[in-house]
Symmetry: C2
Subunit: 340 residues, 2 copies
């Protein structure tokens, strides 16, 4: 029996949001499994804002995806066949398996996930990149102290929601910025944020609303968005405040040069530290993150939700959900059925 592996390859570099035709849908016969190889059936593909940056032809922390190349992406899958001594059929594994149905590999970059009572989605929704990003971004870059005020933009996103909840665990006042009343309700009613600001409703009042929600100013600002929200946040930072630059989602689809914050001079007058990071910089500390997050989750202090798009064929356009405000929870594509 010959398996056909369907996959998405980059066809042209998107301008603005991803359009049909930017990726090519291909189906290729898988060769026979060699000695020392394993075959992974992808189940969940993680869709993350940073992926939009991988499509741009410029030097960055990882090389851009090349035209004709398989689209890069983090995935969780199940080992379906194995000639590899360290992997058995049924193992749940994670890695940069890409936008395809199957991966045949010698095991390089394939990480076996420990057995867990949580649903399979938790691997991407609670741990994975979202967990790494929120945990190390807040803890290591933000240096939060109990009693301080934490402001989070993109707060209803997978990372922002975890960051805010962790802020509460660590004893901070937590204020989220999100788009729409539903998302704001979710933050305060479900996730325990102290306050939430709907930036769409706030308009030019955003700065005033942040000030009102943060009567003691902002000590740690966790930035997922950029643009006008960053400007407003900079203007209310406390002296010696920390700005954790996780994402600048407002500008990932920009087709023209985007100016930096107009309030940049606040960096001096308030002695701010603005620091960027990449979750994988902390790759050797995954266990620490998983241990803490699992503990907090078990204690009911962390919730997560997932937004699952069905079918690999829908992956390219699903990426746009991260940028048009429609995404609610950790976005992923379900490529194939869950293991029995």
């Amino acid at each position: 029996m010959t398996l056909i592996n369907h996959a998405w390859r980059l066809k042209t570099r998107p301008v603005g949001l991803v359009k049909p035709g930017d990726f090519e849908w291909v189906g290729e016969a898988l060769p026979a499994l060699q000695d020392g190889q394993l075959r992974v059936r992808n189940i969940h593909l993680s869709l993350d804002p940073a992926m939009r940056g991988w499509l741009i032809d410029r030097p960055s922390y990882v090389p851009p995806v090349q035209i004709g190349e398989l689209m890069r992406g983090l995935a969780v899958g199940v080992v379906e066949a194995s000639n590899h001594p360290k992997f058995a059929v049924g193992d749940i594994v994670q890695g940069m398996f890409g936008w395809q149905e199957y991966l045949q590999s010698d095991g390089t970059g394939v990480t076996k996930l420990p057995a867990s009572p949580l649903p399979l989605e938790a691997n991407l929704g609670l741990f994975g990149l979202a967990g790494m990003t929120s945990y190390f971004g807040l803890k290591e870059v933000g240096q939060p102290k109990a009693g301080e005020t934490l402001l989070v933009s993109g707060a209803a996103g997978s990372v922002g929601a975890l960051v805010g909840q962790m802020g509460k665990v660590l004893g901070l006042r937590v204020v989220g910025i999100a788009g729409g009343a539903d998302k704001c309700d979710y933050l305060t009613r479900e996730l325990g944020f102290d306050a939430a600001i709907d930036y769409k409703a706030a308009g030019s009042d955003l700065r005033k609303q942040i000030k009102a929600a943060c009567p003691n100013g902002v000590d740690v600002y966790f930035e997922n968005v950029g643009g006008e929200i960053l400007d407003a946040a900079l203007s209310v930072m406390n002296t010696f405040g920390r700005v954790v630059v996780c994402g600048l989602i407002s500008q990932y689809n920009a087709t023209e040069a985007v100016p930096g914050p107009y309030n940049f001079a606040m960096v001096i007058s308030k002695r701010l530290k603005i620091q960027g990071f990449i979750a994988t910089d902390y790759g050797n500390r995954v266990k620490e993150m998983v241990a803490d997050m699992a503990t907090w989750y078990a204690a009911g202090q962390l919730k997560y939700r997932v937004d699952v798009v069905q079918g690999l064929e829908n992956a390219p356009l699903a990426l746009n959900k991260l940028f048009d405000g429609s995404n609610q929870g950790k976005l992923m594509v379900q490529v194939s059925p869950l293991p029995a």
Copy 2:
């Protein structure tokens, strides 16, 4: 005998560069010296870029100078009369004595300077705000390591010149950015910079020229200028680079909102730390700075030059020299003769 104290008071808030008429020249009779008071005759007034910011009516790390108020400024003077037990006639003192000929004070904020074999100008040119700013900015905020590359903008200014020389003392490759061939020659021939870039001649080639002068990229960028120079520098930073934001002199006279760096997204992809500071945050560590700088000066590893404008009456327009490129060396106003 009644002494008349001439002084500059802020009359209107300058728009752009300072214009004649923005300050008012006043002469007021000094009251008799009370018990516990001392009288300081100002000799050197320090002119610093940050002073332009003090004239703007907005919250900052110090309150703005109010209309009608004496212009704030650091000065070095000599005690001319004293009814104060801790100060004697002839003592050399430093403090925020303002733009006036004399200060009568109960001693609050008046610091006695130790005897020194250096000329009096060294107090502002080598130590004072220039020393504090360059020493703690580079050492504490920049965290330089031997073998790294240090890029300095405004490199021929009083702070930039000291920063670059300290970079050499600490074993870094040092590249300066300055305006004009003369200043660049001064950096490489007199101060030992490894390379200097004339941003005026470079124009849109600035980024290429920085890349050529910094073949291993930039690890520490000491920012005095902002604007296009900051953008060019951000684009050549190494991963985990540090941007020390000391000044943004290109925008202090701006009359419209100035966009932040267009390359702001580099903060994430290169995991940069952008950090602002104020020299006086390190006010309790002056002795450490003076000890190191005096040692390096005595060893011939630090040079400074001063740009002395004669006469308090010229102070307001002299401030513009910091922004029009004409200033060479630590800018100060000589208010009265040196002590005999």
